[in-house]
């Protein structure tokens, strides 16, 4: 777990990373490093960020490093692909079970209206949902463990070489930035180099998918997807660097926060973790296990409301 971190909302249009860096590592004009692996092939398109940050910025090019390894290492490439196929199947099966459980829980929430008999059933329902989420995380962890055991990625020369380079690059850096993008790509590519261990407990700023990847669990969500289920689902465990924190980026677009049932569905499912809405200018600060927030930062309440976070 990090002792000192800042979590932000999206940074594309109204960035506040620079202020966050100045607050986190004050009075220093040292280099910062950034991970933009979630941007995939656009990983290197960091000009706007560079200009905004206005200090030496090293892009760790994690996505490109993995691409070049996979290009050379056929066995690893195949194993990664196979792992992805297995994960997708496991996710689909989990989704099937989740739909049933959340459907009945939602009905209890809708009809309960303060009835103590419903409240008891609702509590039990949440236990089942949380149990399923935990079971799913354990299943995905097994997929990763099996992959690690069979393929031993950390022992491969190509991986070790890139890891040594990363270690060198990170040595003189004062702060690590983890940008958003595709959360699965970001998480798995960071995992390959075990970037969190390389970085250790040093100041970190993450936004959007970056914050999701650093959390204890990655929660995928959209209340109005163009097709398919709108139930939030757990993808897998994150790096566990941000305690009791569920990152919900682009909440204004992705969540129907005026729907009290939907809000309660999320906040009650993941309690005691805080369901933090990460919109433009949202900012949550972590210091030695305690969270504070900047004005206008919001979270979901257990009562089905969106509330401003009290500092």
């Amino acid at each position: 777990m990090l002792s000192s971190a800042i979590v932000l909302g999206p940074q594309r249009r109204d960035p506040i990373v620079r202020e966050a860096i100045e607050d986190l590592v004050p009075g220093r004009n040292s280099s910062v490093a950034v991970i933009t692996a979630g941007w995939e092939e656009r990983e290197g398109e960091d000009e706007e960020l560079r200009e905004h940050v206005n200090r030496p910025l090293i892009n760790l090019k994690i996505w490109a490093r993995v691409e070049s390894i996979l290009e050379k290492d056929k066995e690893l490439r195949e194993a990664v692909r196979e792992r992805h196929v297995t994960w997708r199947r496991v996710q689909e099966i989990y989704r099937l079970r989740l739909g049933g459980l959340l459907g009945s829980t939602k009905e209890l929430l809708r009809r309960g209206d303060g009835d103590p008999l419903f409240a008891v059933e609702e509590q039990d329902s949440w236990e089942l949902v949380r149990g399923l989420d935990a079971q799913h995380m354990a299943r995905v962890a097994l997929i990763h463990a099996d992959f690690a055991e069979r393929i031993k990625p950390a022992e491969r020369e190509t991986v070790q070489k890139e890891r040594r380079e990363l270690e060198k690059q990170l040595a003189d850096v004062s702060c690590l930035l983890v940008a958003g993008g595709h959360v699965g790509v970001l998480l798995h590519r960071m995992q390959l180099f075990d970037v969190c261990s390389l970085w250790g407990d040093r100041p970190t700023i993450a936004w959007s998918a970056g914050a999701m990847a650093l959390s204890e669990r990655v929660v995928l969500f959209h209340d109005e997807p163009p097709q398919g289920s709108s139930y939030a689902e757990v993808m897998e465990a994150g790096f566990g660097e941000l305690p009791d924190f569920v990152a919900l980026p682009h909440a204004r677009h992705r969540l129907q926060t005026d729907d009290s049932v939907r809000v309660r569905m999320l906040s009650r499912r993941f309690q005691p973790a805080r369901c933090a809405l990460l919109d433009y200018r949202s900012r949550f600060d972590l210091r030695n296990g305690e969270w504070t927030a900047q004005p206008n930062s919001r979270q979901l309440s257990q009562d089905g409301l969106v509330e401003e976070v009290v500092r």
Partner: protein
């Protein structure tokens, strides 16, 4: 007081009272499921012409007392869209006009109709140009068809940030030019790709020179798509050369062309998007459609006997106000029995381009799900 009652009582107040209502209220006026149409003009008879299966073809307006105002009230379910024209009879001369009180128009290859929106329906915001969405491009080309022995016009949609080094899925669109003109296909692809609801893809729009023949389950047309169009596009464009990355779509006869092409070349296309397909069939005796349907009925009858497995995934949509809804509903269990993954969407709409436009988001994103669920920029 209902709108009809308001109009009737305003008549007593004379033209000024009527004008006051017209200035204040939009017509057709929608109150729950009640829709009130109004026509102001001297005539012998006023009728409403529409294309809703299940209602009488012409609905008579009623003259309000002896004024020049004509009124008609109908029941329209929630979230419906209804296209119509007004028939004006003066003496022995009749004409069909668009509703002068209604500014909403729906365009199609034959011109434009007035359109009324039932309660709860709004044109989806993703169907209009989003200034934030990066724009793809549409290139006009001609394709040398060995099968037809002529040159065929096509349009190629390339997504924003197109790169030769990437590989893209392919969407083949029958009546593609009409989809661009009347169903905003380019804007919709731009928007859905921008919103990550679709992956960046390449769409190839085809337009037949003799649609009623070539789209009527014609073998030559199927060969044209599979032997001319796709191979030439794969030579020209960076496409993923796999059935799972190929989709074909069309509406009405275009849906028949899509299904029959896939049926004649099973497994070549992994995905089909069939909109309001003219899948007319017979159990016994002759069909009651025009002769152009003969080859369609022959094909659908054959398909029903031996459907095979034309593709892996099908998205089928149809309006419940279309006479074709019966044929489309009948097709669904058959498609499901083939083992294909089938999704169906019915809508309170008719056989028209805006119905097909409004289903594009769900249909396309169901066949080609974008990375939305995993991307948080």
């Amino acid at each position: 007081m209902s709108m009809l009652e308001r109009l009737e009582s305003a008549l007593a107040g004379g033209p000024a009272a009527i004008r006051a209502i017209l200035g204040e209220v939009e017509f057709p006026h929608v109150e729950g499921r009640n829709v009130t149409f109004l026509f102001d003009g001297e005539a012998d008879e006023i009728t409403l012409h529409h294309w809703i299966h299940g209602l009488p073809g012409e609905l008579q307006f009623r003259r309000l007392r002896r004024s020049s105002l004509w009124v008609l009230q109908i029941d329209l379910p929630r979230r419906s869209r209804m296209e119509y024209k007004i028939g004006v009879m003066r003496g022995s001369r009749g004409e069909l006009v668009r509703d002068p009180l209604n500014s909403h128009l729906a365009r199609d290859p034959f011109g434009a109709n007035s359109v009324v929106y039932g309660e709860g329906y709004e044109p989806p915001e993703w169907t209009v140009e989003d200034p934030e969405a990066r724009k793809g491009t549409v290139e006009e080309r001609h394709l040398d068809s060995k099968v037809f022995g002529d040159w065929r016009p096509i349009q190629i949609y390339r997504p924003a940030r197109f790169r030769e080094t990437r590989r893209y899925p392919l969407l083949v669109v029958h009546d593609g030019l009409d989809y661009l003109k009347f169903a905003n296909l380019q804007e919709i692809l731009d928007n859905l790709i921008h919103r990550l609801e679709l992956p960046p893809l390449i769409a190839v729009m085809t337009q037949s020179l003799d649609r009623m023949k070539e789209y009527a389950a014609d073998e030559q047309h199927a060969d044209f798509i599979v032997k001319d169009l796709v191979p030439q596009m794969e030579d020209l464009l960076p496409l993923i050369r796999e059935p799972s990355a190929r989709a074909m779509m069309g509406a009405s006869f275009g849906a028949v062309a899509s299904l029959s092409t896939a049926w004649r070349h099973p497994g070549f296309f992994g995905k089909l998007f069939l909109q309001s397909g003219s899948f007319v069939f017979t159990e016994i005796g002759d069909h009651d459609r025009p002769p152009m349907f003969d080859p369609v009925v022959k094909f659908v009858n054959k398909f029903r006997k031996k459907p095979g497995r034309p593709a892996d995934q099908v998205f089928l949509s149809c309006g419940v106000y279309e006479s074709l809804i019966y044929y489309n509903r009948s097709l669904v269990p058959l498609l499901q029995e083939t083992g294909m993954q089938v999704r169906v969407r019915e809508a309170n709409d008719g056989h028209n381009w805006e119905n097909w436009r409004d289903r594009l988001r769900e249909g396309l994103s169901s066949l080609f799900p974008g990375p939305l669920w995993h991307v948080y920029e």
